[in-house]
């Protein structure tokens, strides 16, 4: 990664963090993982979360079909999530999906514009998993603390 790109990424992540209302979670990540209220899982590791969002794992431990939902491509929260959870630049993830689509294996998760739309999607789908700003969490969804 070029210095300019590294700086750009750093600026975006920092901006995303800095622009959020200050609360405890802002110290670690500008997003929280949310799932359907009835999901039995209580925490999720970064690797497991990545596996859901890359559709490398398709089902929850109970057998429910996993339904990941993304924020809009290029949005600060999606960029931060890509770096923090998928450990990949958005362009790399894009390339991954292009090959998956081409080979007929899988299509990327649907995108929703903004926290409220993601919360709505997650609340409506039992297998859903999404990410939103901590301040956007409502009682309609459950937060899964992200373990390393």
């Amino acid at each position: 990664m070029s210095p300019a790109r590294t700086l750009a990424w750093a600026a975006i992540v920092l901006a995303a963090v800095a622009l959020r209302p200050g609360d405890a979670t802002a110290q670690t990540a500008p997003y929280v993982i949310v799932v359907h209220r009835e999901n039995q899982v209580s925490t999720i590791s970064r690797a497991d979360a990545a596996a859901f969002f890359l559709k490398r794992v398709g089902r929850w431990p109970g057998g429910t079909e996993a339904r990941p939902v993304n924020q809009l491509r290029g949005s600060p929260i999606a960029v931060a999530f890509s770096a923090g959870v998928l450990h990949q630049a958005p362009s790399v993830v894009e390339a991954y999906w292009q090959q998956q689509i081409f080979s007929g294996r899988a299509t990327p998760p649907p995108e929703r514009a903004g926290d409220a739309a993601v919360v709505e999607y997650v609340a409506a789908n039992p297998g859903a998993i999404g990410y939103v700003s901590a301040g956007a969490v409502t009682a309609a969804v459950k937060v899964l603390p992200l373990t390393p």
Binding site: M1, S2, A4, R5, A47, A50, A51, L54, R56, G58, H87, Q88, A89, S91, V92, V93, A95, Y96, Q98, Q99, Q100, I101, F102, S103, G104
Partner: protein, 662 residues
């Protein structure tokens, strides 16, 4: 090298044709309220694989690419892969009533069996191992009903694929289970006693297990033909009656289970020969060619947690040919059989945002047999059996130099057991100059290895001897291309290119013994410009293209055989909502091009197809096509093996068909 030519005027017949077309299409569009027909393939249709050996968008690709989708094939009533390729800018095909030959950017030789185009199915090589032939017409190995998309990559591809990827690469992407989603059957009937049927099946059996199968059969009696060159009482006044029959069968199946994919295909075609090629007796019904291809492949593709990706494949290919050539009472038969085992693999890794691909390939041809013999009285001219092998390694990088600049750089080395090695690089700089606008500069080298046919074919010293010391043909290409988004779904493309070819293999008489022998003979070059506008405007979709090409070869000392200066195309589809139909019009203009001693005249052809999906239920599709709508009389340039310099083509023909999906 000459400077690129000035912009030429649009040929007058084509101008008239465009006006006619636009009137017809706008009449159709006027009745349309909204787009009808099947939904387009969406994002997947904007992806191409074969330009880099991984999926990328057309705008990102380091080459000039066209993708023709299944929906376009159905809407335009294309019948063969050759007709599909013929819709791509700068490419046209010729038919000598035996095989179909593609000319890319003004370069090819009549009768060259498409050896300078790499033909693949799902990334697996289909060119015959003995003679390099790529089959495009009804002889093609894959039926159109098994095809989801066809990728056409212009320019050198040897840095990724090795031999044959000379003027371009054509990759057939077969249909997946989801494309069929159940059972599908079709039946068609057409002029000249043409009948075709197909059956298909595709289903997801379990999570991650997809099965697809397709089979088809073609029977065509063909037209009666008249060849003025044979207009004499002894040869039935030049009339070839009932000598143009064509019969083909195809099967294809795939099973995808997780990371594994098993594929099998078989295609066979038998064609009667009406042309008395190779000096055979005119009007003798024993003249024929038969070609078949078999491909069995097992692929494994896995994406690791860091999104790096490995692909590996083991495949078996068989290419067979046989022909019957009557010389009065004697029937000469010739044949070739080639079997190939291929082990190949590649590994793609992300380094930051850069991509690095390394790969290798080993091909072993345990069987390379060719022969010729008289049936009665028995006499064997040739019975040659060989084996050969080639190994290759390649590396390619995609480097994001800056926010809007991407550099592709790759090189491949191929090492042959026959002649030695060839190393071929490609570099491309892709610049995103503005939102939706891309400029690319591509330089590449490619080669074609001398084939076993060229190396070893002889008739025991009667007229031809085996070649020794043949070296690969080489080509260098430099291209500058620009893509620009003219609207939300409309793109314009302009490309300028120069192609230099050396060491083209040709047949020559050795003065020492007066025998014909293949030698590295000639050079060629082509300079050209292509412009295309394609996409969708309101309810109308399609593409319009024009190519100007100026080619030269040392053998002719001027314009190569069958090389036109102007190639123009228009292909438009518009919905006719009142009929729940799509009407599509194809118009193709081909400029005059040299035949052996004269000129094949320019022509303008139009095809019209109506595709009706009469119910909201998409399970029934009825189509009707008129080919050569204006009944234009035209001919294609034939090769050296033909007395006829120009081979007459069909006049107006019709086809109707129905397709049912359950």
């Amino acid at each position: 090298m000459r400077a690129p030519p000035a912009w030429p005027a649009c040929p007058r017949p084509f101008r008239a044709a465009i006006v006619t077309a636009l009137l017809a299409i706008s009449a159709g569009a006027a009745s349309a309220q909204k787009p009808a027909g099947a939904a387009p393939g969406g994002y997947a249709d904007s992806l191409v694989f074969a330009a880099s050996r991984y999926a990328q968008t057309l705008g990102e690709a380091p080459a000039s690419v066209s993708v023709i989708t299944r929906e376009e094939i159905l809407q335009h009533g294309y019948r063969t892969l050759g007709e599909v390729l013929g819709s791509a800018r700068g490419i046209f095909t010729s038919y000598d009533r035996n095989y179909t030959y593609a000319t890319v950017r003004g370069l090819s030789r009549p009768g060259d069996f498409n050896t300078r185009i790499l033909l693949m199915v799902d990334g697996h090589r289909l060119n015959g191992a003995l003679d390099d032939s790529g089959l495009l017409g009804t002889e093609g190995a894959v039926d159109l009903d098994a095809i989801e998309r066809v990728e056409v990559i212009r320019g050198p591809g040897s840095s990724l694929y090795g031999t044959n990827a000379f003027y371009g690469v054509v990759n057939i992407v077969t249909r997946r289970a989801g494309s069929l989603a159940g059972y599908e059957g079709s039946a068609e009937a057409g002029t000249f006693g043409t009948y075709r049927g197909s059956l298909g099946f595709g289903q997801r059996l379990a999570a991650g297990v997809d099965v697809m199968a397709s089979a088809s059969i073609l029977r065509a009696a063909g037209p009666d033909l008249y060849f003025p060159e044979f207009d004499a009482p002894a040869t039935n006044g030049g009339r070839a009656i009932g000598l143009d029959g064509d019969r083909a069968e195809h099967v294809l199946g795939t099973v995808q289970a997780g990371d594994f994919r098993l594929g099998a295909l078989y295609g066979s075609r038998r064609k009667a020969l009406p042309t008395a090629s190779f000096g055979t007796t005119f009007g003798d019904p024993r003249a024929f060619t038969r070609d078949s291809r078999t491909l069995l492949s097992l692929d494994y593709e896995h994406a690791f947690e860091d999104l790096s990706r490995v692909w590996t494949s083991l495949s078996y290919t068989a290419a067979r040919y046989s022909g019957g050539y009557p010389y009065d009472s004697v029937l000469l038969r010739d044949y070739s059989r080639a079997e190939t085992w291929t082990l190949e693999g590649q590994y793609l890794r992300f380094v930051g945002e850069h991509k690095v691909t390394v790969g290798g390939e080993a091909r072993w041809n345990p069987t390379l047999e060719q022969g010729a013999y008289d049936v009665q009285p028995p006499f064997t001219y040739l019975a040659d059996a060989r084996s050969s092998s080639v190994w290759a390694a390649f590396v390619q990088g995609e480097f994001h130099l800056a926010r809007r600049a991407t550099l592709f750089a790759g090189v491949r080395h191929d090492q042959y057991s026959t002649f030695g090695g060839s190393t071929n690089p490609r570099a491309a700089l892709v610049l995103q100059v503005a939102a939706g606008s891309t400029v690319r500069v591509v330089y590449g080298r490619a080669f074609r290895a001398p084939s076993a046919y060229e190396l070893y074919y002889n008739d025991g010293g009667v007229t031809q001897k085996a070649a020794s010391g043949l070296q690969p043909e080489g080509v260098q290409t430099l291209e500058l291309a620009a893509d620009h988004a003219l609207g939300p779904q409309l793109r314009g493309t302009l490309s300028l290119y120069q192609i230099w070819v050396k060491d083209l293999v040709g047949l020559v008489t050795d003065p020492a013994d007066s025998l014909l022998v293949y030698r590295n003979l000639s050079r060629a070059r082509s300079t050209g410009v292509e412009v295309e506008v394609g996409g969708r405007v309101g309810p109308i979709s399609g593409r319009v293209s024009y190519a100007y090409q100026h080619a030269w070869d040392s053998e002719q000392g001027g314009t190569p055989l069958n090389s036109p200066q102007h190639v123009a195309k228009l292909g438009l589809s518009a919905p006719l909502d009142a009929l729940r139909a799509t009407v599509s019009l194809d118009i193709r203009y081909l400029g005059a091009r040299p035949s052996r001693t004269g000129v094949a005249g320019s022509y303008t052809l139009a095809n019209l197809t109506l595709l009706v999906r009469p119910f909201a239920w998409k399970g029934l599709e009825i189509s009707g096509s008129v080919y050569n709508l204006w009944d234009t009389r035209y001919g294609d340039v034939g090769g050296e093996e033909l007395v006829q310099e120009i081979i007459p083509q069909d006049g107006r023909t019709f086809r109707v068909g129905a397709r049912v999906r359950l």
